[in-house]
């Protein structure tokens, strides 16, 4: 007891009597502990945030999907958007019944992911419709105005195609398209129009309009699901505009991020992006060449505003712009271009003018909430299917508004999804079998289906062309082999009947995830269902690995720092031991055992470790706590998902502090191992002879 006290006293005093060495070593240990506390706290917080992001947005706690899948389930994309072969669970109701019976399961939500093409009326479609009406009414002035517009659009399209031509080796198709465009641009077409208005409008409708569609196609990443149950089960879901799809109704809810990023008017999008640059990123036009380049592009996009204006509106706006831009002259086109030349001085005023005066006169989105759009799919059987679906509203995942990953999912009712996906009814299966028999194929894979079933791309193309032809702009019907019922009602009980590709399982208690996973798998196996269960981390694909990666990187970094610290501490301690040879030799001579010397050094280093560790942990705890109040801003939009929002609010727990202490104790003991061994080898005889 007394010995221990003496050792402790000696160790303690030795700490202070070898200040230089101990301050160096102490700072290293302090820094190491600080880093462990900070690093593990932030990581744990990211872990929790990401768990929330993933489990509360799309994944749920567990996911089930077919054992026959050829690709692993990747809810946030595997890099092959929509092309993963995940197989199908043909009878979701059965899966649901089996899974729901497992204790601890709160909800089972059917899902299916695919990428569809969406079509909506384009500016050209609107112009053609105006032309038709003007021709019917016989108003030559309006016909001329619209004709001018259509020819300008054709010119624009021509420029686009010429650019594309440079990149292609086979010009045949482009040349065909260019011929159509040139005909519309030419005077002859318009001269003939009054004589045969119907034929002329039809030519525009069937020949020119498809070229625009082709060049302005949009892909819609769709998550088919029981939308009502989805909204109730996923805590991060939040309706932004419009309304929830009523029960028993078909339709889609668009992700606000997708809606803003892809469907919003380009000029409006430009104004918003520049405002974010200025307000959130603190950029200035004057010092940022990229921002200036973007302004140049915006100026070139002036037609996105002017093409939408009726002649009267154009007059009105031109007058306002002349008043707003002192000394400005010229046509509406020139005025808008001038207006779009943004700089640091005029930005705020022009932003306001744009949204107050211009935005209300144009369509801000390709289509609005409440409108119907045509969704077209290449089904797995290789057929083209289309459906008209109402856009009921937009939604977001709370905190993930800016995340690319969370923005990838648009919700669609499961019934429409099944129609478009194509493998639902026995009828359709029989039909497919028929087609397959005709073509002489046993199994038609998704990749080869197009070519094999329709004899190559040309057939599909042909079908596509037939598919065009908007008769009315409110509900556009596309041709094709199948036509799904638009805006049809359905019996909500049918939602569970039929296929699902995957399903999310929400548990009562996430802490018992592994246990539940086993139980669900066992139940499915026992029921003879070919369905596999994965946890949300696995289901989220590459994203789930990111945290693992970040963790590995951090641990390697901490490992390296500790290794360096270890070497430095070791060397310093060896040197310090050498300086104390006389003292240690004396202790040995007067009867101290070698083990006592070892204990003394161990105790010294441990004390230093705990002392600097306490300081480092306190510092780390303090920093994490203050970051927990102010939040760490996500350095990139990609990280918002990991942070479960634009800022991460980390919190340090006892575990993090203990981890810091444990690490420093281990490092201290490792670092002193060799010096202590050297010290025990010091012979008592060195005390006898005065230092040489």
């Amino acid at each position: 007891m007394g010995t221990l006290r003496l050792l402790a006293a000696m160790a303690w005093r030795n700490l202070w009597s070898h200040k230089g060495k101990n301050i160096l070593v102490g700072i290293l240990m302090l820094f190491g502990t600080f880093l462990v506390v900070l690093g593990t706290s932030v990581l744990d917080s990211i872990d929790q945030a990401m768990t929330r992001s993933i489990t509360q947005s799309v994944a749920g706690h567990l996911q089930v999907y077919s054992k026959n899948a050829r690709d692993p389930l990747a809810l946030y994309g595997s890099g092959y958007m929509g092309a993963d072969d995940l197989g199908v669970m043909p009878d979701f109701a059965r899966v649901k019944a089996v899974v729901s019976a497992v204790p601890g399961v709160r909800a089972v939500i059917p899902m299916g992911m695919d990428a569809f093409e969406i079509y909506t009326a384009t500016e050209l479609d609107y112009a053609i419709e105006r032309l038709r009406k003007a021709l019917e009414a016989g108003e030559q002035a309006r016909v001329d105005d619209v004709a001018r517009r259509i020819r300008a659009m054709a010119t624009l399209l021509r420029e686009e195609l010429e650019r594309r031509k440079l990149l292609l080796s086979n010009h045949a198709e482009i040349d065909r398209q260019l011929a159509i465009i040139d005909r519309v641009r030419g005077d002859a077409f318009w001269a003939e129009l009054p004589a045969a208005p119907l034929a002329g409008v039809e030519y525009l409708d069937t020949q020119l309009a498809p070229l625009v569609d082709e060049n302005e196609g949009y892909f819609l990443q769709v998550l088919g699901t029981d939308v009502q149950r989805f909204a109730q089960s996923f805590g991060q879901f939040e309706l932004v505009s419009g309304q929830m799809i009523p029960e028993g109704e078909r339709g889609v809810l668009l992700n606000q991020k997708y809606y803003d990023d892809y469907l919003r008017n380009m000029v409006a999008r430009g104004f918003d992006a520049r405002r974010r640059d200025i307000e959130e990123k603190g950029k200035r036009f004057a010092d940022d060449p990229l921002m200036r380049a973007k302004v140049e592009r915006m100026v070139r996009q002036y037609r996105r505003v002017t093409f939408q204006l009726e002649p009267a509106q154009a007059e009105e706006l031109a007058a306002k712009l002349r008043a707003f831009l002192p000394g400005a002259q010229g046509s509406i086109d020139e005025l808008v271009q001038q207006f779009l030349r943004l700089d640091d001085q005029n930005f705020a005023a022009r932003y306001e003018f744009f949204f107050d005066e211009i935005a209300p006169r144009i369509r801000l989105y390709l289509f609005n909430v409440g409108e119907t759009l045509t969704v077209r799919a290449f089904t797995r059987s290789g057929m083209i299917k289309s459906a008209n679906v109402k856009v009921w509203g937009t939604f977001r995942f709370k905190g993930l508004e800016k995340s690319e990953l969370a923005g990838g999912h648009n919700l669609m009712d499961m019934m429409t999804f099944r129609d478009l996906y194509g493998l639902m009814t026995a009828d359709k299966r029989a039909e497919l079998a028929g087609i397959q028999a005709e073509v002489g194929l046993k199994d038609v894979g998704r990749d080869s289906a197009e070519a094999e079933l329709f004899g190559g791309g040309a057939a599909v193309e042909q079908q596509r062309e037939q598919a065009q032809g908007f008769d009315e702009f409110a509900g556009v019907a596309l041709g094709g082999r199948e036509r799904a019922q638009a805006n049809g009602h359905f019996d909500p009980a049918l939602l569970d009947q039929g296929m699902a590709i995957n399903a999310a399982i929400i548990l009562d208690d996430i802490a018992r995830l592994e246990e539940a996973r086993g139980a669900v798998q066992a139940a499915l196996d026992q029921a003879g269902l070919d369905v596999q269960v994965v946890d949300w981390e696995t289901a989220s694909g590459i994203i789930g690995q990111v945290v693992v990666l970040v963790r590995v990187v951090l641990y390697i970094a901490i490992g390296i720092i500790f290794l360096v610290a270890l070497v430095i501490i070791n060397n310093t301690m060896v040197m310090a031991t050498m300086e104390r040879v006389m003292e240690i030799g004396t202790m040995r001579a007067i009867g101290a055992q070698a083990s006592l010397v070892r204990w003394l050094l161990l105790l010294e280093t441990l004390m230093l470790g705990l002392l600097s560790g306490a300081l480092g942990a306190a510092l780390g705890y303090w920093l994490v706590s203050s970051l927990g109040t102010s939040g760490i801003p996500a350095p990139a939009d990609e990280l918002i998902f990991l942070f479960a929002g634009p800022r991460l609010f980390p919190a340090a727990g006892l575990g993090n502090v203990l981890a810091g202490f444990a690490a420093i104790v281990v490092v201290s003991l490792l670092a002193i191992l060799y010096p202590a061994t050297i010290a025990t080898r010091i012979q008592p005889v060195v005390a006898m002879s005065p230092r040489e």
Binding site: G2, T3, L6, A9, M10, R13, N14, S17, M582, E583, T586, M587, R588, A589, I590, G591, A592, Q593, A594, L596, Q683, P684, V685, A687, M688, S689, P690, R691
Partner: protein
């Protein structure tokens, strides 16, 4: 006279490059209980080497060292350390106090290693020793706050506190001025008289030698004169 220390044909050789230096050459020596012995000889004659052998801090190349009749050359490090702790006291030329400990703690150190006395007993013993060497007032001082003479007194107290049978002092006065050196010698003599502790100390200072009761002279690792127990006493 009872033999306290006995050397039988003890040789000690040090390797020095390709040569070997023979610091002790088949030395026989007997020192009796309660003797106050000075080992004298010129520098490099082997005094320190001899004391190292007697103090069991080093092993002879050949021959045997017996402490109170017990052979020591084959002892393991632990046993040798234990023997030093319980039977021997050391006074060093450079005092060798533990710098971070106070005078009192330095003196207490061997008692703590022995672990036989209670705290109160230890304190009493330490005080007694410090009184004995005339340092009762300096208990809380650290070595660097004391003069050379004071430090050597603390060292003497530390050597004696465990009531060793033999006290070894290698040139204890070499780093002290003459007057202080003489008082230290006087102190050691007094302790030898009062406690019958066997003292062996080395010196090459003729004035110090005057105080010795027995002088063992060595030249080139050999004893000149009487080496038997109680020799010249």
């Amino acid at each position: 006279m009872e033999a306290m220390v006995e050397l039988r044909k003890v040789s000690k050789e040090y390797p020095l490059g390709k040569l070997t230096v023979r610091a002790l050459a088949e030395m026989d020596l007997c020192i009796g209980k309660g003797e106050f012995t000075v080992v004298a000889g010129p520098s490099g004659s082997g005094k320190t080497t001899l004391l190292n052998m007697v103090g069991c801090v080093d092993v002879p190349s050949s021959g045997e060292v017996l402490i109170e009749g017990q052979p020591t050359s084959r002892l393991k490090d632990r046993a040798r350390t234990k023997l030093r702790l319980h039977k021997l006291g050391f006074i060093f030329q450079t005092f060798n106090l533990i710098p971070v400990l106070t005078a009192e703690q330095n003196v207490e150190f061997p008692l703590l290693l022995q672990g036989e006395l209670s705290r109160a007993e230890r304190r009493a013993r330490v005080r007694e020793m410090l009184e004995l060497v005339g340092l009762g007032a300096l208990v809380r001082q650290r070595p660097n706050e004391m003069s050379g003479g004071q430090r050597q007194r603390v060292a003497i107290a530390r050597a004696l506190v465990s009531l060793p049978h033999i006290v070894l002092a290698d040139e204890p006065t070499a780093n002290l001025d003459t007057a202080t050196g003489l008082t230290i010698i006087e102190l050691m003599k007094k302790l030898n008289r009062e406690r019958q502790t066997t003292f062996i100390f080395s010196t090459h200072d003729p004035r110090v030698m005057e105080h010795a009761r027995r002088i063992v002279r060595i030249v080139d690792g050999r004893i000149e004169g009487d080496a038997t127990c109680g020799g010249s006493a």
